[in-house]
Point group: C2
Chain length 133, copies 2
Amino acid sequence: MYRIGELATACEVTADTLRFYEKNGLLSPSSRSDKGYRLYTDEDARHLKFILRAKAMGFSLTEISELLNIEASRSDWACADVKGMVEAKAAELQRKIDEMTRLRDSLQELADACCGGPESAIHCSILDTLETK
Amino acid sequence: MYRIGELATACEVTADTLRFYEKNGLLSPSSRSDKGYRLYTDEDARHLKFILRAKAMGFSLTEISELLNIEASRSDWACADVKGMVEAKAAELQRKIDEMTRLRDSLQELADACCGGPESAIHCSILDTLETK
DNA sequence: TTTGACCTTAGACTTAACTCCAAGGTTTAT
DNA sequence: ATAAACCTTGGAGTTAAGTCTAAGGTCAAA
Protein backbone atom coordinates (compact mmCIF):
# COMPACT_ATOMS: atom_id res chain seq x y z
CA MET A 1 0.00 0.00 0.00
CA TYR A 2 1.30 3.41 -0.96
CA ARG A 3 0.34 6.75 0.41
CA ILE A 4 -0.44 9.45 -2.10
CA GLY A 5 2.98 11.07 -1.93
CA GLU A 6 4.75 7.77 -2.41
CA LEU A 7 2.77 6.84 -5.51
CA ALA A 8 3.12 10.36 -6.86
CA THR A 9 6.90 10.33 -6.48
CA ALA A 10 7.17 6.83 -7.93
CA CYS A 11 5.23 7.84 -11.04
CA GLU A 12 6.61 11.36 -11.34
CA VAL A 13 3.34 13.20 -10.90
CA THR A 14 2.19 15.37 -8.00
CA ALA A 15 -0.17 14.36 -5.20
CA ASP A 16 -2.45 17.12 -6.47
CA THR A 17 -2.63 15.38 -9.82
CA LEU A 18 -3.66 12.13 -8.17
CA ARG A 19 -6.41 13.89 -6.21
CA PHE A 20 -7.47 15.54 -9.45
CA TYR A 21 -7.66 12.18 -11.21
CA GLU A 22 -9.74 10.83 -8.37
CA LYS A 23 -12.13 13.77 -8.46
CA ASN A 24 -12.53 13.18 -12.19
CA GLY A 25 -13.16 9.48 -11.87
CA LEU A 26 -9.95 8.25 -13.43
CA LEU A 27 -8.28 6.68 -10.44
CA SER A 28 -9.51 6.05 -6.91
CA PRO A 29 -7.37 4.50 -4.21
CA SER A 30 -8.57 1.03 -3.26
CA SER A 31 -8.87 2.02 0.38
CA ARG A 32 -8.28 4.59 3.08
CA SER A 33 -6.41 4.33 6.36
CA ASP A 34 -8.45 4.70 9.53
CA LYS A 35 -7.44 8.36 9.61
CA GLY A 36 -8.61 8.92 6.05
CA TYR A 37 -5.27 8.72 4.21
CA ARG A 38 -5.54 7.41 0.66
CA LEU A 39 -3.99 3.97 0.26
CA TYR A 40 -3.07 2.79 -3.22
CA THR A 41 -2.40 -0.83 -4.18
CA ASP A 42 -0.08 -2.19 -6.84
CA GLU A 43 -3.17 -2.61 -8.97
CA ASP A 44 -3.91 1.10 -8.53
CA ALA A 45 -0.34 1.85 -9.51
CA ARG A 46 -0.73 -0.18 -12.71
CA HIS A 47 -3.93 1.73 -13.33
CA LEU A 48 -2.07 4.99 -13.02
CA LYS A 49 0.65 3.82 -15.35
CA PHE A 50 -2.03 2.94 -17.90
CA ILE A 51 -3.33 6.50 -17.61
CA LEU A 52 0.10 8.03 -17.96
CA ARG A 53 0.97 5.90 -20.97
CA ALA A 54 -2.27 6.82 -22.70
CA LYS A 55 -1.60 10.47 -21.88
CA ALA A 56 1.87 10.19 -23.37
CA MET A 57 0.24 8.87 -26.53
CA GLY A 58 -1.78 12.04 -26.81
CA PHE A 59 -5.14 10.95 -25.39
CA SER A 60 -7.15 13.46 -23.38
CA LEU A 61 -8.31 12.54 -19.89
CA THR A 62 -11.86 12.15 -21.21
CA GLU A 63 -10.65 9.70 -23.81
CA ILE A 64 -8.61 7.91 -21.20
CA SER A 65 -11.79 7.51 -19.16
CA GLU A 66 -13.34 5.69 -22.09
CA LEU A 67 -10.25 3.55 -22.51
CA LEU A 68 -10.39 2.67 -18.82
CA ASN A 69 -14.03 1.69 -19.17
CA ILE A 70 -13.16 -0.59 -22.03
CA GLU A 71 -10.17 -1.97 -20.15
CA ALA A 72 -12.39 -2.67 -17.15
CA SER A 73 -14.78 -4.82 -19.14
CA ARG A 74 -12.86 -5.91 -22.17
CA SER A 75 -15.28 -8.66 -23.08
CA ASP A 76 -18.02 -6.10 -23.72
CA TRP A 77 -16.02 -4.53 -26.51
CA ALA A 78 -14.59 -5.56 -29.83
CA CYS A 79 -11.03 -5.04 -30.97
CA ALA A 80 -12.52 -2.86 -33.69
CA ASP A 81 -13.81 -0.43 -31.03
CA VAL A 82 -10.39 0.05 -29.55
CA LYS A 83 -8.63 0.21 -32.88
CA GLY A 84 -11.21 2.74 -34.01
CA MET A 85 -10.38 5.04 -31.12
CA VAL A 86 -6.68 4.80 -31.77
CA GLU A 87 -7.06 5.42 -35.47
CA ALA A 88 -9.40 8.34 -34.87
CA LYS A 89 -6.81 9.85 -32.57
CA ALA A 90 -4.07 9.28 -35.11
CA ALA A 91 -6.20 10.95 -37.78
CA GLU A 92 -6.90 13.88 -35.48
CA LEU A 93 -3.19 14.29 -34.88
CA GLN A 94 -2.57 14.09 -38.61
CA ARG A 95 -5.01 16.91 -39.23
CA LYS A 96 -3.24 19.05 -36.68
CA ILE A 97 0.14 18.16 -38.15
CA ASP A 98 -1.07 19.15 -41.61
CA GLU A 99 -2.40 22.45 -40.34
CA MET A 100 0.77 23.27 -38.47
CA THR A 101 2.90 22.28 -41.42
CA ARG A 102 0.92 24.69 -43.55
CA LEU A 103 1.51 27.46 -41.00
CA ARG A 104 5.18 26.65 -40.72
CA ASP A 105 5.59 26.76 -44.49
CA SER A 106 3.87 30.14 -44.65
CA LEU A 107 6.16 31.47 -41.95
CA GLN A 108 9.22 30.07 -43.64
CA GLU A 109 8.22 31.69 -46.91
CA LEU A 110 7.78 34.97 -45.07
CA ALA A 111 11.18 34.64 -43.42
CA ASP A 112 12.93 33.61 -46.61
CA ALA A 113 11.69 36.71 -48.40
CA CYS A 114 13.17 38.95 -45.70
CA CYS A 115 16.73 40.23 -45.90
CA GLY A 116 17.03 39.82 -42.15
CA GLY A 117 19.74 42.46 -42.03
CA PRO A 118 20.49 45.12 -39.45
CA GLU A 119 18.81 47.78 -41.59
CA SER A 120 15.72 49.51 -40.34
CA ALA A 121 12.50 47.61 -40.85
CA ILE A 122 10.94 50.48 -42.78
CA HIS A 123 10.83 48.38 -45.92
CA CYS A 124 10.55 45.01 -44.19
CA SER A 125 8.88 42.56 -46.54
CA ILE A 126 7.38 40.60 -43.65
CA LEU A 127 5.54 43.60 -42.24
CA ASP A 128 4.51 44.64 -45.73
CA THR A 129 3.01 41.24 -46.33
CA LEU A 130 1.11 41.26 -43.04
CA GLU A 131 -0.12 44.75 -43.73
CA THR A 132 -1.45 44.17 -47.22
CA LYS A 133 -1.55 40.65 -48.45
CA MET B 1 -16.43 55.22 -40.30
CA TYR B 2 -17.74 51.81 -39.34
CA ARG B 3 -19.70 50.86 -36.28
CA ILE B 4 -18.51 47.80 -34.43
CA GLY B 5 -21.05 45.44 -35.99
CA GLU B 6 -20.20 46.61 -39.49
CA LEU B 7 -16.47 46.07 -39.07
CA ALA B 8 -17.09 42.75 -37.36
CA THR B 9 -19.25 41.46 -40.19
CA ALA B 10 -16.86 42.76 -42.83
CA CYS B 11 -13.92 40.94 -41.23
CA GLU B 12 -15.84 37.86 -40.12
CA VAL B 13 -15.28 38.22 -36.41
CA THR B 14 -17.81 39.08 -33.69
CA ALA B 15 -18.32 42.45 -32.06
CA ASP B 16 -17.32 40.76 -28.81
CA THR B 17 -13.97 39.87 -30.33
CA LEU B 18 -13.36 43.50 -31.32
CA ARG B 19 -14.18 44.67 -27.78
CA PHE B 20 -11.87 41.98 -26.48
CA TYR B 21 -9.06 43.18 -28.75
CA GLU B 22 -9.62 46.71 -27.54
CA LYS B 23 -9.52 45.67 -23.89
CA ASN B 24 -6.25 43.90 -24.58
CA GLY B 25 -4.63 46.80 -26.37
CA LEU B 26 -4.60 45.34 -29.84
CA LEU B 27 -7.07 47.57 -31.60
CA SER B 28 -8.87 50.70 -30.44
CA PRO B 29 -11.36 52.56 -32.60
CA SER B 30 -10.05 55.96 -33.69
CA SER B 31 -13.08 57.71 -32.21
CA ARG B 32 -16.46 57.44 -30.61
CA SER B 33 -19.79 58.93 -31.62
CA ASP B 34 -21.29 61.53 -29.29
CA LYS B 35 -23.36 58.74 -27.76
CA GLY B 36 -20.34 56.55 -27.13
CA TYR B 37 -20.54 54.21 -30.12
CA ARG B 38 -17.18 52.95 -31.35
CA LEU B 39 -16.25 54.35 -34.76
CA TYR B 40 -13.58 52.60 -36.76
CA THR B 41 -11.71 54.13 -39.71
CA ASP B 42 -10.29 52.40 -42.77
CA GLU B 43 -6.94 52.58 -41.04
CA ASP B 44 -8.44 50.72 -38.08
CA ALA B 45 -9.81 48.15 -40.50
CA ARG B 46 -6.34 47.63 -42.02
CA HIS B 47 -5.02 47.27 -38.48
CA LEU B 48 -7.57 44.56 -37.81
CA LYS B 49 -6.69 42.76 -41.02
CA PHE B 50 -3.03 42.82 -39.95
CA ILE B 51 -4.05 41.18 -36.68
CA LEU B 52 -6.16 38.55 -38.41
CA ARG B 53 -3.44 37.72 -40.92
CA ALA B 54 -0.87 37.33 -38.17
CA LYS B 55 -3.31 35.15 -36.26
CA ALA B 56 -3.83 32.99 -39.32
CA MET B 57 -0.06 32.55 -39.43
CA GLY B 58 -0.13 31.08 -35.96
CA PHE B 59 0.93 34.06 -33.84
CA SER B 60 -0.61 34.48 -30.40
CA LEU B 61 -2.28 37.76 -29.50
CA THR B 62 0.68 38.61 -27.27
CA GLU B 63 3.04 38.12 -30.17
CA ILE B 64 0.75 40.12 -32.41
CA SER B 65 0.98 42.95 -29.88
CA GLU B 66 4.73 42.96 -30.35
CA LEU B 67 4.36 42.87 -34.12
CA LEU B 68 1.99 45.82 -33.94
CA ASN B 69 4.49 47.75 -31.84
CA ILE B 70 7.15 47.10 -34.42
CA GLU B 71 4.78 47.99 -37.22
CA ALA B 72 3.90 51.23 -35.47
CA SER B 73 7.52 52.40 -35.36
CA ARG B 74 9.28 50.42 -38.02
CA SER B 75 12.32 52.65 -38.05
CA ASP B 76 13.15 51.67 -34.47
CA TRP B 77 13.62 48.06 -35.47
CA ALA B 78 15.83 46.06 -37.76
CA CYS B 79 14.69 43.56 -40.33
CA ALA B 80 16.61 41.01 -38.31
CA ASP B 81 14.25 41.60 -35.35
CA VAL B 82 11.20 40.79 -37.39
CA LYS B 83 12.78 37.89 -39.21
CA GLY B 84 13.90 36.55 -35.84
CA MET B 85 10.36 36.51 -34.54
CA VAL B 86 9.07 34.75 -37.61
CA GLU B 87 11.83 32.16 -37.56
CA ALA B 88 11.37 31.56 -33.85
CA LYS B 89 7.68 30.95 -34.47
CA ALA B 90 8.47 28.61 -37.35
CA ALA B 91 10.88 26.70 -35.13
CA GLU B 92 8.31 26.48 -32.35
CA LEU B 93 5.81 25.06 -34.82
CA GLN B 94 8.42 22.61 -36.04
CA ARG B 95 8.96 21.35 -32.51
CA LYS B 96 5.24 20.81 -32.10
CA ILE B 97 5.02 19.09 -35.47
CA ASP B 98 7.87 16.76 -34.52
CA GLU B 99 6.23 15.91 -31.21
CA MET B 100 2.86 15.25 -32.80
CA THR B 101 4.44 13.18 -35.53
CA ARG B 102 6.07 11.07 -32.86
CA LEU B 103 2.72 10.58 -31.16
CA ARG B 104 0.96 9.81 -34.42
CA ASP B 105 3.58 7.19 -35.29
CA SER B 106 3.18 5.55 -31.89
CA LEU B 107 -0.57 5.43 -32.34
CA GLN B 108 -0.26 4.06 -35.84
CA GLU B 109 2.07 1.36 -34.60
CA LEU B 110 -0.45 0.50 -31.91
CA ALA B 111 -3.29 0.38 -34.42
CA ASP B 112 -1.33 -1.66 -36.95
CA ALA B 113 -0.62 -4.35 -34.37
CA CYS B 114 -4.35 -4.73 -33.61
CA CYS B 115 -6.51 -7.14 -35.56
CA GLY B 116 -9.35 -4.67 -35.40
CA GLY B 117 -11.86 -7.43 -35.77
CA PRO B 118 -15.29 -7.87 -34.24
CA GLU B 119 -13.91 -10.32 -31.66
CA SER B 120 -13.99 -9.40 -28.01
CA ALA B 121 -11.20 -7.16 -26.85
CA ILE B 122 -10.11 -9.63 -24.18
CA HIS B 123 -6.81 -10.17 -25.94
CA CYS B 124 -6.60 -6.74 -27.55
CA SER B 125 -2.97 -5.90 -28.23
CA ILE B 126 -3.63 -2.20 -27.83
CA LEU B 127 -4.98 -2.53 -24.31
CA ASP B 128 -2.21 -4.99 -23.46
CA THR B 129 0.38 -2.48 -24.57
CA LEU B 130 -1.17 0.34 -22.57
CA GLU B 131 -1.42 -1.91 -19.54
CA THR B 132 2.17 -3.15 -19.48
CA LYS B 133 4.58 -1.53 -21.82
C1' DT C 1 -44.81 55.53 -31.53
C1' DT C 2 -43.35 51.47 -30.92
C1' DT C 3 -40.78 47.50 -32.48
C1' DG C 4 -36.51 45.56 -33.60
C1' DA C 5 -31.82 45.92 -34.47
C1' DC C 6 -28.02 47.88 -32.80
C1' DC C 7 -24.95 49.77 -29.25
C1' DT C 8 -22.88 50.44 -24.18
C1' DT C 9 -20.67 48.47 -19.71
C1' DA C 10 -19.12 45.24 -16.16
C1' DG C 11 -18.40 40.96 -15.15
C1' DA C 12 -19.15 35.88 -15.24
C1' DC C 13 -18.38 31.70 -17.92
C1' DT C 14 -15.94 28.37 -21.12
C1' DT C 15 -12.07 24.30 -21.82
C1' DA C 16 -8.20 21.29 -20.13
C1' DA C 17 -5.48 19.79 -16.90
C1' DC C 18 -3.82 20.94 -13.41
C1' DT C 19 -1.78 24.04 -9.42
C1' DC C 20 -2.03 26.48 -5.30
C1' DC C 21 -3.89 27.89 -0.89
C1' DA C 22 -5.77 27.83 3.83
C1' DA C 23 -6.75 25.63 7.88
C1' DG C 24 -6.31 21.85 10.15
C1' DG C 25 -5.13 16.68 11.54
C1' DT C 26 -1.29 12.79 11.60
C1' DT C 27 3.11 10.59 11.58
C1' DT C 28 7.89 10.33 12.11
C1' DA C 29 12.33 11.61 13.66
C1' DT C 30 15.13 13.67 17.11
C1' DA D 1 7.88 16.91 23.49
C1' DT D 2 8.15 19.12 19.51
C1' DA D 3 9.25 20.16 14.85
C1' DA D 4 9.28 18.63 10.16
C1' DA D 5 7.07 16.29 6.84
C1' DC D 6 3.12 14.37 5.51
C1' DC D 7 -1.92 14.02 4.93
C1' DT D 8 -7.08 15.89 4.63
C1' DT D 9 -10.83 19.05 2.49
C1' DG D 10 -12.92 22.73 -0.11
C1' DG D 11 -12.33 26.04 -3.12
C1' DA D 12 -9.86 29.53 -5.87
C1' DG D 13 -6.50 30.55 -9.56
C1' DT D 14 -4.00 29.62 -13.99
C1' DT D 15 -3.82 30.20 -19.53
C1' DA D 16 -5.74 31.68 -24.15
C1' DA D 17 -8.96 33.65 -26.66
C1' DG D 18 -12.84 34.49 -26.61
C1' DT D 19 -18.21 33.99 -25.50
C1' DC D 20 -22.25 35.13 -23.03
C1' DT D 21 -25.37 37.69 -19.91
C1' DA D 22 -27.78 41.45 -17.79
C1' DA D 23 -29.43 45.84 -17.71
C1' DG D 24 -29.81 49.55 -20.09
C1' DG D 25 -29.32 53.42 -24.04
C1' DT D 26 -29.91 54.65 -29.26
C1' DC D 27 -31.56 54.61 -33.87
C1' DA D 28 -34.27 53.51 -38.16
C1' DA D 29 -38.36 51.98 -40.14
C1' DA D 30 -43.35 51.22 -40.40
